[in-house]
């Protein structure tokens, strides 16, 4: 019997402390199926921590997380994937990095993925010899290889040049078009405009806005969001 979909997601009152300080202060959030949610906010707002909580890598100290009736756990995490800001690649070839997550004898699927991210000619190259952009594309291919229902991306283009950044964005949009739910963290307002269907704006560990991109960018509801979009420095503390 097919498993019920993971979405919609409901978060209520999620709190998380790190190093003796509260980092998430009672986060409430609802995510519906489909599309691309961009999580924005100044540095230290709790964007990456929120993503890790959603992906099951961090356990909140309080609050409720409900994945369409399912509690967080390995079974939920397995149906998601995450691409980190600094890709963590195995000390193996490009192809072997994909083989690691694919079922045995899935060479055709691996070749399709390599072609999809433009790394077919690098299959035998040690993964750690790739450029930053190529490493991130490989990390993205590895995430897609698991056929996730939800793909989390934590500032995947933060240290990439504009061309590499654009390649990643195209791949993310293709994944969205193929039906993968995207949750993308960025502090880059331009990138958020290009990708977002809806925007979650975090400030000081709280979700202060969650609205459709078409409304968020022209008419942000809070001064912090307005300042952030307009490139003014917003302090989180």
């Amino acid at each position: 019997m097919a498993e019920p979909p993971l979405l919609p997601l409901t978060l209520r009152g999620v709190r998380l402390s790190r190093g003796g300080a509260d980092r998430l202060h009672g986060v409430d959030l609802d995510l519906a199926p489909g599309g691309c949610t961009v999580v924005m906010g100044p540095n230290g707002a709790g964007k990456s921590l929120l993503l890790k909580v959603l992906h099951g890598l961090e356990t909140p100290g309080a609050g409720r997380i409900d994945w369409n009736g399912q509690a967080p756990g390995p079974a939920v995490t397995r149906r998601q994937a995450m691409v980190f800001q600094a890709p963590v690649l195995l000390r193996r070839s490009v192809a072997a990095n994909l083989d690691f997550v694919l079922p045995r004898h899935a060479q055709a699927r691996r070749d399709d993925l390599l072609a999809h991210v433009g790394l077919s000619d690098k299959a035998a190259t040690p993964a750690r010899r790739l450029s930053g952009g190529e490493q991130q594309r490989l990390a993205l291919a590895r995430a897609l290889a698991t056929e996730p229902e939800i793909l989390f991306l934590d500032e995947p283009t933060a240290s990439l040049d504009p061309a590499a950044c654009l390649q990643i964005e195209r791949l993310v949009l293709k994944a969205r078009a193929a039906g993968t739910r995207i949750v993308f963290v960025t502090h880059n307002a331009g990138q958020a405009r290009r990708l977002a269907d809806d925007v979650v704006f975090l400030h000081r560990g709280r979700v202060v806005e969650h609205s459709p991109a078409a409304r968020f960018f022209p008419t942000p509801a809070t001064q912090a969001a307005k300042d952030h979009i307009e490139g003014r420095i917003v302090l989180s503390h």
Binding site: G56, F84, V88, L90, R92, F100, V101, R128, R129
Partner: protein
């Protein structure tokens, strides 16, 4: 007593002529120390990996003990194994005392903690790097350990060779449990000790030369493995 010059000359002649006694001793040394290194790796690598990955009560204390065991005195290990294998000991019925098997056992006990402690450090560092990604992929602990062992293979070869180096140069434990019996349990280090005490410096030096060549060879292999890893950027 021969002077050093003639001893060196005789030693080289023994090595170059392929002296039967010399070869027998060298081969037994290699058999004992390679077997011990293999057994120590079979025990120490998974143990090191488990301690690197798992979080449990008493883990820090176990790491302290494991690190301390790296400095186990060989004669103490020899004595403990002797007491176990002697006729009055609990394992006396096995009849292993003064056999190469007893020597392998003693050397394994001596170097398994070295392999476990060094591999724990290597794998813990790598696990720190991989942990979040592995949790994101919801890997089982067994799969994570296997992946770590494979990705750290070049560093772990160095660990294994360090264990072998310690074993092949060790004398205290093997002389107690092996007895240094001619044509049965005489290895390079015990033979060197015996020949030196009897004033036969040529044989002692010949064995010393082979031991040094082996030590150099081990280091050369380590260096080659590391360079190869660096060249392929897997390291």
């Amino acid at each position: 007593m021969q002077d050093f010059g003639s001893s060196f000359a005789l030693a080289f002649r023994l090595v170059l002529s392929g002296d039967a006694d010399l070869i027998e001793i060298v081969l037994l040394s290699l058999r004992v120390s390679l077997s011990a290194a293999a057994l120590a790796c079979a025990i120490g690598l998974p143990l090191g990996a488990l301690i690197a990955v798992a979080r449990f009560r008493g883990r820090e204390a176990l790491i302290v003990v494991l690190n301390a065991l790296m400095g186990l005195p060989p004669v103490v290990v020899g004595l403990v194994v002797y007491l176990q294998l002697s006729r009055a000991g609990p394992l006396g019925f096995l009849g292993l005392l003064y056999t190469p098997t007893a020597m392998i056992l003693a050397q394994t006990i001596l170097i398994a903690p070295i392999v476990a402690a060094l591999s724990r450090q290597v794998l813990q560092d790598m696990h720190g790097e991989y942990d979040e990604q592995f949790r994101s992929l919801a890997l089982t602990r067994g799969r994570a350990v296997r992946a770590l062992l494979w990705d750290a293979r070049f560093a772990l070869v160095t660990v294994a060779l360090a264990g072998f180096g310690r074993a092949v140069a060790e004398v205290g434990a093997v002389i107690i449990v092996g007895g240094n019996i001619d044509h049965l349990t005489r290895v390079m280090t015990t033979a060197i000790a015996l020949e030196t005490s009897q004033g036969d410096l040529s044989m002692a030096l010949a064995l010393g030369i082979v031991l040094m060549v082996l030590a150099l060879g081990v280091n050369a292999v380590v260096q080659t493995v590391q360079l190869s890893a660096a060249r392929r950027s897997h390291g």
